[in-house]
Symmetry: C2
Subunit: 619 residues, 2 copies
């Protein structure tokens, strides 16, 4: 029978339930001082002794009796009968009550002459100046900062009681293989507990990844029971959904009870919260982005209740570039790219596919769309929550438009300068429209006009009011990718894999079809669209299609034959007002660098003679 | 002879010199994936294979041929001739082109009936949907975030080339002992390289602490030469000043060259930058806060040039509570406490003593006062640079006024609620003045009036226009601390240690002197002031003074005799407008908790009957 979720509750209800149902007392672990930064204290720390323990000199100089120095001046130097040469940190014996800096002392034949009086206690660090024996250095629940190790060492601390939460991670699924093993068809690399361990250990938790457990109720039961014994919290990866092999909920119910099955979040709905021997047991959904969402929105706030280090993300109000529609009832989380254009923060939602881990790698921010919301209109101001330091987001360079593998290489070349290139693949037309709305710093495009020119006609049409420039990235070859060395004339009748409407490659293909008087209807698969060159090549390689149109480097990367169709000018369009932006300047410099030319020559299919040339776009 | 600094240059010049004189190529180290978060990539990372490699189901359901499902509706269900049950992640064989969710399928006797058509490719994750073989996952110079380990595992990555900088830390000084050893008079716990290691390793650097080296030029030379061989950067701790045993500059000059001796910063002036075998060698000043400043302002920006992870601190514009005067010419750095009162950020400079490591533990922010500045007027808006997460600063509770050891215990009790209590010891009067200027959330005070009442008279005088409340912390005993069980009448003629003017204890002492008709002039040491009870007790314990006035708990903590003089009401004054502030509410709850009563009973000298009582102050 088809299983249904027991009870879907809201995210807020889930957090309230966790707070209500579980006591959250952390475990305690002693940590040597040298490794204590980033850990959270389990109790107050007191100074073992005073620092300094006795009066010491704060300067290199001489210890004196201040009364002896009275009346000394440039006109009336005083030669001292009693004084002691001291360096910084040396003891000042009880009979002295001041130190004079060595720069202000004239020494001759073992006697010291001064030209200025000394105030009582000047340049002396009195006993306990820093801290006195028995005083509290750091309270309970304090996260030790790196620089504090210095003070703690000084105060005699060698080991620190810190808090932790022991979390057992149980990966289940007969399809799992360890990373490093290439998955066979139908197999999956176990990645969710790898991710969970890294995320949770950042809070100060202590995670144990247990061996993979097959999809077998008894084996899962034994693994969970074992993990519950050894930990404060157990997280079972996957099997939390409603598939034919999703045993997690039943197993938890058998060992204890299921409190929640299904939380109204997207992604992340199929989450389980159970209790075994008073301990919380989470069933994590299998999709990586669902798992990430559950970890971030449910597990981290819960772990914070133990006193672990979980900081709410910093948010930045930003203009959203596209409308986001959603149904009322679920809290929805959307990974985004965020950047600053002029003085405006602009945020673009990424693909919503829960299996697309690259979305989480590309994203530097995310949105929470509350369950009562129906979404946002384009141009609304939303709170983008940062997934990077604010400084890094400030240096993001937003590149939106046509995709080419060399864009990733440009990202690679400029990253060491501190600029993060975030590219969104929406095709050449989509890029120009983003540029028109001033939602990106640059738009790569290769839009062919009927007169045989590239890009300028389209800029004139869509950005007539704006002054723009075009930077040539390369003249590149487009051609037919296939398994059987097909040429353009072989396409009719073959299964084709197409690019999305508005992409330059789609327009080139349609242009070539028209020129050759081929009817698109004669091409099976003409309606099947993907959004990158490499996706075209991969569809061909996997056998889904027989042919497609892509750049040479994509065909070469997958080892497929390539028959050239046309050479085209691949350019970056940008607005005059951003021409001096240091991020864009870094990109232009990278395009013109010998390293980039060498990369394109290695990839193949690029003519680099025009690379780096600037020409006017519009205005 | 007295050594002088070779050449004092500005901080900006120092950073420019470092950029000019040294190439900053990082070292490369291979790190297993599981440990790679927080590390920075040495080169781009590419996917080893496509994910998924072939079309798989995105749902639990049935794989179908979309054409077979045409026309299906509630009115016209369609029973399928060909279909395959698939779970999420299962392969969708090439003959199918769509998946229908199991919830929308009616199964009977092995056949499937549907009531809705399927669009081509729906609920199928096509090959390469996430990433295609050969695509770049992460560029060079990217700091790996914990959640990215999931994607990297999925894409077949098991080990990552990351960058590091090998930094050798050489502690010098015959006075050094390791932490854990109680320093004898004149000895110092070596803490600067412990701190430096923690600070620098946060950036991804790899630090080696070498054994302590005595103050002996040849030994220092050998240690530095050895460290230069094994590292990219060497940092010599201390010996960089101009004392009689400061050999660092000479040794560096002997092995290579000294480029800088003295940088115009406060603290941190006596820094050395040298070059040996093309490698940078830093001489770090010995004072911990000087060392911290040099690490933060010179070494970290330099390490950032290698590509290491160094994030500029977030700053918050805040109102400075006290005037800061400084001389033109040096960049000055001041540790501060920062908090938010109502909607105003308020920042208070801490003690400037370079040896006071507690200042860096208490501080949650710091100021940079530029070299061209003469300082700030009180009330100016300055940029406070955060040393904690912004969230933590938002939850800071500013307590300014009279000191008592129990304040630290209150800080300890409320910290687990997320509130950081930052206390500044300026005496009772100083606290009320801060409260008047609305620069703190609460002011502990014990100000005795001639009529024998506490605090209210003073509130009426200084905060007449403001509604205030008084929360009783305790009735506490003040008395004479001595080594010889002295009582108040024994004080004349003995060496006394006094508290600062404006402190309640000082006022109590003056009140008692007046009552007993004792002339302050008859008390040697009457002019010698310290600012806490424990400092009074310590001055007595160390023999500097014979007697002082302090609370019982301070005398007890240091094991000294105590003879009671008076019992006084120690209260927290706060403004009506902050009465509902959750931070203050947490403090009031802590004051009233049984745990706090128990602590005061254990410490001794506190009457707790009135503890937690609220009474009107003014208004």
């Amino acid at each position: 029978m088809v299983k249904r979720y027991l009870s879907v509750i809201t995210l807020d209800e889930t957090l309230a339930l966790l707070a209500r149902e579980f006591s959250t007392t952390p475990a305690i672990v002693r940590v040597p001082l040298e490794n204590a930064h980033g850990r959270i204290t389990a109790g107050p720390i007191f100074a073992r002794y005073s620092v300094p323990e006795i009066h010491v000199s704060a300067m290199d100089g001489i210890a004196v009796v201040s009364a002896d120095t009275k009346g000394a001046s440039e006109q009336h130097p005083v030669t001292l009968n009693r004084a002691l040469r001291v360096n910084t940190g040396n003891i000042v014996p009880m009979e002295y009550d001041a130190v004079i800096m060595i720069e202000d002392v004239w020494e001759e034949g073992g006697t010291y002459t001064i030209r200025k009086g000394a105030a009582p206690w000047q340049h002396i660090r009195p006993a306990g100046e820093d801290l006195a024996e028995s005083e509290m250095v750091i309270p309970t629940g304090h996260r030790i900062r790196p620089h504090e190790l210095g003070g703690l060492a000084t105060y005699g601390i060698t080991e620190i009681s810190t808090i932790t939460v022991r979390i057992g991670l149980v990966p289940t699924g007969s399809e799992l293989v360890a990373h490093g093993t290439r998955p066979k068809p139908g197999q999956v690399v176990e990645s969710n507990t790898v991710m969970a361990k890294a995320i949770l250990e950042e809070t100060g938790a202590t995670c144990t990844r247990y061996p993979f457990v097959e999809d077998h109720p008894e084996k899962i039961r034994d693994a969970i029971a074992h993990a519950v014994k050894e930990n404060d919290i157990v997280i079972v990866s996957a099997g939390s959904s409603a598939g034919t092999k999703d045993y997690t909920a039943d197993v938890i119910a058998g060992l204890g009870e299921v409190l929640v099955h299904g939380v109204a979040t997207k992604p992340g709905k199929p989450v389980i919260i159970g209790r075994i021997e008073k301990k919380p047991v989470f069933g994590l959904p299998g999709y990586p982005l669902s798992a990430l969402t559950v970890l971030r929105e449910i597990v981290l706030p819960f772990v914070k209740r133990y006193g672990m280090f979980v900081v709410d993300p910093v948010f930045i109000p930003a203009e959203i570039t596209t409308a986001m529609a959603k149904e009322i009832g679920s809290d929805e989380f959307v990974l985004c790219t965020l950047g600053k254009i002029g003085n405006r923060w602009v945020v673009s939602p990424q693909s919503k596919g829960a299996g697309v881990q690259m979305a989480a790698i590309r994203a530097n921010a995310y949105l929470r769309i509350p369950r009562a919301s129906e979404g946002f209109d384009a141009g609304s101001i939303v709170n983008a929550k940062l997934m990077v330091a604010r400084e890094e987001a400030e240096h993001a360079l937003l590149i939106t438009g046509s995709h080419d593998p060399v864009i990733d290489y440009l990202a690679d070349l400029i990253r060491p300068t501190g600029v993060t290139l975030l590219s969104t693949h929406v095709g050449s037309m989509g890029g120009l429209l983003a540029l028109r709305k001033n939602e990106c710093h640059g738009a790569p495009a290769h839009l062919l006009s009927d007169d045989g020119t590239y890009n300028t006609e389209y800029l004139r049409k869509y950005l007539a009011e704006t002054t723009t420039h075009l930077l040539c990235i390369a003249e590149r070859q487009q051609g037919v990718v296939s398994r059987d060395d097909l040429s353009f004339s072989d396409i009719p009748g073959r299964r084709f894999i197409n690019r999305q409407k508005g992409s330059g490659t789609r327009m080139l293909f349609d242009h070539e079809l028209k020129k050759a008087r081929i009817d698109p209807a004669s091409i099976p698969g003409y309606e099947r669209e993907v959004t990158t060159h490499i996706a075209v090549a991969l569809a061909v390689k996997s056998g889904e299609a027989d042919a497609g149109l892509c750049v040479y480097s994509a065909a070469k990367a997958l080892g497929l034959p390539f028959v050239p169709v046309a050479s085209e000018r691949y350019e970056l369009a940008f607005r005059q007002e951003n021409a001096d932006d240091p991020r864009l300047a870094a990109l232009i410099e990278a395009v013109r660098s010998p390293a980039f030319i060498a990369i394109m020559e290695r990839l193949g299919g690029y003519e680099t003679q025009e690379t780096g040339r600037l020409r006017p776009g519009t205005g």
